[in-house]
C-alpha cells in the first residue's frame, strides 16, 4: 500500500490550515446528475475505507449521485493502468503518487478539471497556497488533493515510557540516545516493517528534509540534484543511527519480511513489546481501529514530533489526490463536492485524515491526535511532500530497495541508482 503525498512548493502552509471557520467554502454541486452512479476507486481498506464511505454517503445525500467504492487493496497502480488499457477505467480514482499523476496525464487518460466544467480559479480560495499546484501537470489542473497526513509523527506507548522512565526527545541526537537507553534497559525499542519499503523512504525523506533543507529536497525529488550528492549518503547514515539491528524488535533481517501493519502491531498489539513505531498520522486510526481496539489515546498510544535534525524542522506529509477518468454525469459533481468544506468536515470527523480545505474547522477533528497533527503541519516552518511519491513510476520502489540494502549494512551504488532514475525521468516525457 503506498501512501500518496505531495510536496508543497510553497513554504507557508503555516497558519492557514487550521484557520477558524471562514465558511465561504466550495460551490454547491449541481443536482442535474441526481440518480446516476459513478465508480470511485482507491486502495483504502479496513478503517480507512469505512471513513471514506461516510464521505460517499454524505455525497449521495447531498446530490443524489451514488458513488460506489471499488477498493483495490493490492497492486493498485497495476489494476488502474490495466483498466485504462482495456478501456475500463473507474470514473474517479485516487492517484497513487505524483509520478503516476504525470503518467496518466501525459497518456491522455485523465480529464482536465476545467474540461469537466469546474471553475479552477474559484477553487484557489479553498486551499492554502501550494496545495492546488500539487494536482497540476505541466501547468494544467488534473487532480485535486483531498486528504493528507503528517509523516513526521513518531508513535509511542506513553505507559511504557513511564515505566521505563524515559521521555520524548526533542532532537535527533536525543532520539538515538533514547533508543540506546531503552535498549540498555533490556528491550529492543522499535517496531519496523521494512518489507513495505516505502516506510523506509519515509524515514529517509524526513531526515533529508530536515538535514539537507527543503530546497535541496525539492531538487533531489525532481531529478535536478543527483543522488550521488553527499547529502544523500549523509542522510542514510543518520538514518542508520536509529535503524540498528539492536534497536529493532526481531532484528533487521526479520523486519525485512514484515509488513507495516504487522509492525504497528509490534508496538500496539496487546502482546506487543516495542515501544516506538515511526510512520505517518494514519497509524493512529489503524492502531486503534484494527490492531488493538483497547488502546487509549494519551495513555497507551500517542505521538511526538519526528525529532529535528540539527536545526532543521521541516515536516513531511503524505497526501492523496483524486482525478477523473471519464465525463459521466456525477463525476463533475463529485469532484466539486470534494473541494467543499462539507466533505472535508465529514472526513476529518472520522479522525482518519487531515483535510487540506481551509475552511474545515479545528473542531471537526474528533480527537487530540488528529487535532495535534493538523496543528503540527499548520505551524511547521516548512512542509514537504513525500518524495518517493514524486518520483517517476517505479522510482519509489527503487529508493525503497536501495534503503533496504542500506539498513542491512551493505553499500548502495548511488551512481547506478542515479543513472536508473534519470532514465525514468526521461521516459516519462
Amino acid at each position: 500500500m503506498m501512501r500518496i503525498t505531495r510536496p508543497l512548493t510553497i513554504v507557508s502552509l503555516v497558519a492557514v490550515l487550521v484557520a477558524t471557520a471562514c465558511s465561504s467554502g466550495g460551490n454547491a454541486p449541481g443536482t442535474g446528475a441526481s440518480g446516476s452512479t459513478i465508480t470511485v476507486m482507491s486502495l483504502w481498506g479496513g478503517s480507512e475505507q469505512e471513513s471514506f464511505q461516510k464521505v460517499l454517503d454524505a455525497f449521495k445525500t447531498k446530490t443524489g449521485v451514488t458513488a460506489t467504492f471499488d477498493s483495490q487493496r493490492t497492486n493498485y497502480s497495476t489494476v488502474l493502468q490495466t483498466r485504462l488499457s482495456g478501456g475500463n477505467p473507474p470514473d474517479i480514482a485516487i492517484i497513487p503518487g505524483i509520478g503516476f499523476l504525470r503518467q496518466f496525464a501525459r497518456q491522455g487518460s485523465l480529464k482536465k478539471v476545467a474540461d469537466l466544467g469546474v471553475d479552477v480559479n474559484a477553487l484557489k480560495s479553498n486551499y492554502p497556497p501550494g496545495i492546488l499546484e500539487i494536482g497540476q501537470v505541466d501547468g494544467t489542473q488534473y487532480a485535486i488533493m483531498v486528504k493528507f497526513n503528517s509523516k513526521s509523527t513518531v508513535w509511542f506507548r506513553p505507559d511504557k515510557f513511564k515505566t521505563l522512565g524515559v521521555s520524548a526527545p526533542t532532537d535527533y541526537a536525543g532520539f538515538t540516545k533514547l533508543l540506546g537507553d531503552i535498549k540498555a534497559k533490556g528491550t529492543a525499542p522499535m517496531g519496523l516493517g521494512a518489507a513495505d519499503s516505502w516506510t523506509l523512504t519515509d524515514w529517509f525523506e524526513n531526515i533529508y528534509a530536515k538535514q539537507a533543507g527543503p530546497e535541496k529536497y525539492d531538487q533531489l525529488f525532481s531529478g535536478k540534484l543527483p543522488w550521488t550528492d553527499a547529502s544523500v549518503a549523509t542522510a542514510v547514515d543518520t538514518m542508520k543511527q536509529a535503524i540498528k539491528d539492536d534497536y529493532v524488535v526481531g532484528g533487521i533481517t526479520a523486519a525485512l519480511g514484515r509488513s507495516f501493519t504487522d509492525a504497528i502491531g509490534q508496538a500496539f498489539a496487546a502482546n506487543g513489546t516495542a515501544v516506538i513505531y515511526y510512520e505517518g498520522g494514519f497509524v493512529g486510526g489503524i492502531a486503534t481501529g484494527q490492531t488493538n481496539t483497547a488502546l487509549k489515546v494519551g495513555e497507551t498510544i500517542d505521538w511526538f514530533d519526528f525529532p529535528a535534525v540539527g536545526s532543521g524542522k521541516t515536516v513531511t506529509i503524505g497526501g492523496d489526490v483524486i482525478a477523473a477518468f471519464t465525463t459521466k454525469p456525477g463525476v463533475k459533481e463529485f469532484l466539486q463536492y470534494m473541494t467543499t468544506a462539507d466533505s472535508g468536515t465529514v472526513w476529518a470527523g472520522t479522525g482518519a485524515v487531515i483535510s487540506p480545505i481551509k475552511s474545515v474547522p479545528a473542531t471537526a477533528y474528533p480527537n487530540d491526535l488528529a487535532k495535534r497533527e493538523a496543528a503540527q503541519v499548520a505551524n511547521a516552518s516548512a512542509v514537504r511532500f513525500d518524495g518517493s511519491d514524486l518520483l517517476p513510476s517505479g522510482g519509489g520502489d527503487n529508493l525503497g530497495a536501495a534503503l533496504q540494502t542500506a539498513i542491512q549494512g551493505k553499500t548502495v551504488d548511488w551512481a547506478a541508482f542515479e543513472t536508473a532514475m534519470q532514465t525514468k525521468w526521461k521516459a516519462e516525457k
Binding site: Q72, T74, R83, G86, G87, N88, S259
Partner: protein, 298 residues
Amino acid sequence: MSVLAEGMAGSRPRTPAGRAVAALNRTAIHVFLALIGIIWLVPTVGLLVTSFRPRADIQSTGWWDIFNLHLTLENYSQVLQAQGMFQAFLNTVFIAVPSTLLPLAICAMAAYAFSWMRFPFRDTLFLIVVGLLMVPVQVAFIPVLTGMRELFPDFQLTRNYGAIWLAHTAFALPFGIFLLRNFFITLPPDMIEAARIDGASDVRIFRMIVVPVSVPAIAAYGIFQFLWVWNDLLMALVFVQDSSKYPMTRAIQTLLSQYGTEWHLLAAGAFLVMIVPLVVFFSLQRYFVQGLLAGSIK
C-alpha cells in the same frame, strides 16, 4: 515385470554378506522413498490442518503440535462469506467451463481437418500451428487490450467474461489442435474410407465416427485444459477487469498480499482453490496423465 524390478530378481545374491548388503540397499530405498513422501506431503498437509485450526491456535503453536488439535470450520465459513470466496468460486467456474468447452470444440474440428481432410498448404499450416505452441501469452496482452478498447468498446469485453473466454480459447488452440490431430491420425483409415464411400459428408464423419471413437483423447485434453484455466492467474489479472468477476486465484493473491499472516484465512482460501483440481486429479488421474504424456508441451 519391469526392467528394473527384474534387476532385483535377477541379481539375488548368494552369500550372507551379499544378502545383507542387498537388505541394506532395500532399507535405504525405503528410507529414501519415505523421505520423499514426507517432503511431498508435509507442506500440503500442514496447510490443510491449519485451515481447520482456530486463529488463536495458529498464532501460538505449530500445526505439528498434534496434542493441541481443536478443529473448526470457522475459517472456511469466514473466507466464503466475509471474504467473498464463494463468489470467486462461482466466477472461476464461470470462467473455466466455457474456456474448456469452446477450445474442445474448435480444436477437435480443426484437428479433424488437419488429419482427414485435404486442402492446399495443409501440412505447412500445421507446421505453423506447431510453431505457435511456443508463442508466449505476453505478446498478446497489449494488442488485444488496445484492440478491445479502440475497436470494440461497446462489447465491454473486459468488463464481462468475453475477453478472458476468448483469450483462453485462442491460447489453448495450438496445443489442442496439435494433441488431437496426433490422435485422430491414428484412427484406422478403413473406418473413415468406408464412410466416405457411403457418401458421408465430413461433418457426418466427424460427428458420427471420429468424435465418439476419440472420447478418451478429447476427455484427456478437456481435463487438462480445465485445470489449466482453473489454476490460471496471469490471464485473469489482465483480462478480467471487474472486481466482482475475479476468480479464486486472484482472490487468493489479493488475500495473501493484504493479510500476509492471517493464515487461518489463507489456508482455507488456498484449499478452496485446490479442492476441485485435486478431486479431478484423483478421480480422473488416468486421463490427466494421458493428456500430459501425449503432449508434454504447454
